[in-house]
């Protein structure tokens, strides 16, 4: 009887529901391959459209891929419509998802977009794979002139002498601090402003972080927060590396981060997290700025290494409890202060259907008028004279800190395979921060894996 109910008592060779389901499950197994295969297969074929320089073939259609945080650039879409009679379609993407999105599309030999947002981390990769059109000619037109841009902010998009991106805003992580918290524990709230120009101020930074950490009024406070998940920690590691006089790569692009400077940098990060426990303990789960910023904005994180624009966001009373008490300055120093450039760019894809519309949008975006509008929203302009305009500087005093931060090293080891080896190095540093490997072991292993990856 039991068999009757389950349909299993009489072994029959015909097709039962169960067998059919079993087949379905087996087919599902094959889908594990099929899913990838479909994507891979879609990568063959497709159109090719190589245009070398901006022209005047305006098609009346423009499609943009912008970062979800790029409200200021998104606002230019309407302006483009007013000026040129073309309303751009805008697709948005978060920064962590950007690389997957655009590379998948370009590998399939399509580009639904005519201008695409890119970061310093992946800009050279776009150039190496010929997915981005070189912008040299465009950048040399007025008001854009290569020499008007910050040299360090253009390094990430420079691949073998050609520029593969036009900046829309410049910046590198700065030190943000909560002056109110400083005062509550009896620390000088203005002290961090000069740390960047004071040798070995990292030690002072650490002492302050220790003082700021602790439970007050039933609330846990931490001296410092940051985003250290995956390869995002390379902004802080890279800053420390250069503060100690080290570099990610040598002139030939070979890894040299396994130096004493590299080891000392990891040890400093380890000490913050484990020895002195002055860092937000969830720091290793924060993938990007917006994972870590709520902690700082809630008013119980003393210091924060992050992007300049957070200084503007921190002034919004709807989301921030540090309105009017958040200070900004370049990061502290060991031998020197340092940071890692994180300027952002737009490029015209090689496969764009309307490349000239793309260039025309970039032209609008990089005009003085648009850049002033962008600077008015809290994102530093690509033009120094706009950032230092007294009216703008009064409203956004941290633009001075951005300019100051570029006086120090801001290299990020930018290379075409930066995204790949960045993940390897990020993973190995995580192992060291978790105490699974020594700093030296982690760096040596990262270099070994990176070289293997490059050879394979």
């Amino acid at each position: 009887m039991a068999g009757d109910v389950g349909g299993n008592a009489v072994p029959r060779k015909d097709i039962s529901r169960r067998k059919a389901l079993g087949f379905g499950a087996a087919a599902g197994g094959l889908l594990a391959t099929g899913g990838l295969a479909s994507l891979l297969a879609s990568c063959s074929g497709g159109k090719k459209n190589e245009i070398a320089a901006p022209g005047t073939n305006f098609t009346g259609q423009l499609s943009l891929l912008l970062g979800s945080h790029m409200t200021a650039v998104k606002g230019l879409a309407q302006k483009y419509n007013t000026k040129h009679g073309v309303l751009p379609t805008v697709e948005e993407i978060t920064t962590p998802d950007l690389r997957s999105k655009i590379t998948t599309s370009f590998l399939a030999k399509t580009s639904p977009w005519d201008a695409v947002f890119t970061t310093s981390t992946i800009a050279q990769e776009m150039g190496q794979n010929k997915w981005a059109l070189p912008a040299d000619g465009f950048l040399n037109q007025s008001p854009r002139k290569n020499e008007t841009f910050l040299e360090n902010a253009m390094a990430p998009v420079n691949y073998r002498g050609n520029y593969y991106g036009t900046p829309w805003s410049v910046g590198a992580p700065l030190l943000h601090w909560n002056k109110k918290m400083f005062e509550e524990v009896g620390l000088d709230p203005e002290a961090p402003a000069n740390w960047h120009s004071t040798k070995n101020s990292w030690d002072t930074f650490l002492e302050y972080a220790k003082e700021l950490t602790g439970t007050r009024n039933g609330v846990k406070n931490y001296g410092f927060t940051d985003a250290w998940a995956a390869d995002h920690k390379l902004y802080t590691f890279g800053s420390l590396l250069q503060m100690h006089g080290g570099k990610f790569l040598d002139e030939e692009g070979e890894p040299i981060f396994d130096s004493d400077a590299g080891e000392e940098s990891i040890i400093k990060m380890y000490d913050l997290l484990n020895t002195y426990k002055v860092v937000d303990p969830a720091v290793d789960t924060y993938t990007w700025v917006f994972d870590a910023s709520p902690g700082y904005m809630s008013g119980n994180r003393g210091m924060f290494f992050t992007w300049p624009f957070i200084a503007g966001v921190a002034q919004d009373p709807k989301t921030s409890k540090v309105v009017g008490v958040s200070g900004v300055a370049p990061q502290p120093a060991v031998d020197t202060s340092a940071s890692v450039d994180g300027s952002e760019y737009l490029f015209v894809p090689t496969l764009a259907s309307n490349p000239d519309e793309g260039w025309r949008f970039l032209d609008l975006m990089s005009s003085k008028e648009s850049q002033t509008a962008i600077a008015e929203t809290g994102w530093a302009s690509i033009y120094g004279d706009i950032n230092t305009d007294p009216a703008i500087l009064k409203k956004f005093p941290y633009y001075q800190a951005i300019a100051d931060s570029y006086k120090y090293p801001v290299d990020g080891g930018f290379s075409p395979d930066r995204a790949v080896w960045g993940k390897i190095l990020g993973n190995e540093i995580s192992e060291a921060l978790a105490g699974k490997k020594s700093a030296k072991e982690a760096l040596i292993n990262a270099k070994k894996l990176m070289n293997e990856e490059r050879k394979s």
Binding site: G24, A25, A41
Partner: protein
Amino acid sequence: MTNAKLHILGLKKEKRTAWLFILPTLILITCVYAYPIITTLVYSVTTIDISTYTIKEFAGLRNFQYIVSNEFFNRTLVRTIYFGLMVVVVTILLAIGVSLLINIDFKGNKILKILILLPWAVPPVVSGVMWSQMFQYEYGFINKIIKIFGGEGDTIWLGSPTLALHVLIITEIWRWLPFATLFIFAALQTIPHSVIEAAALDGAGYIKTVKEVILPIIFPGVIPVAIFLFVSAMKAFDTIFVLTAGGPRSGTTTLNYLVYLQGFQQFKFGRAAATAYILTFIILVVIFVVFTLNRLTSKRRLIND
């Protein structure tokens, strides 16, 4: 014509009809999947130049050799199988419990049945975001509950590889529980009341009836569910992508996620294709083992009957 011959002819006709019904699906699956499956096989033995997306060289079994000799792959393999088994075992146990519960007639039973199905309607990306907020260490619901019950409530759930892997397991169980419950509940519905009544007349209590009567009856129906769950767990991607992105310290990277990393982060398409084939092979082996075990236990049950 004898009755036996008529019976055989009837069976043959039934079989033919069954094949006719299945044929369109078979043709569709073959057409849609044969091409990519073959393409992937070609990729798995080649090296691809990503700038032109052409085959650079024939690599033979080099991709497979690289993968199986790689320590990272071996750790990922063990983690993937553990992940899959946990999802299958816990989901099925919970589904059996929930099915038995909703099989009892009580007020609100119908509402409960609808509520149970809800997680199934939630897109995986949405559930991933939802669970990540629930497990957030400072403001998350889970730690708040722990605090209410007197605990510290400061666990960083997604901060350690082991904890994060189990958070993913919980999320996948939550996602697939409605499906498993629906299937097992359907199997329960097929049990004639007379069987339960006979067990009661023989003096069996509820627990004994479940253990000795209900579970053996529904067991054959659980097998396809187990296979489906295992295959789904092996293919889990969206939840991992949203919740942990394979971290921390690669502690939640499963084979399917590794295929994505190799293919669309490192652009090693040959290697990704080879990993995909290994994953498929593992799934097929598990399906074969489960079917074989089921056949053996069915035979033994027949002999016992």
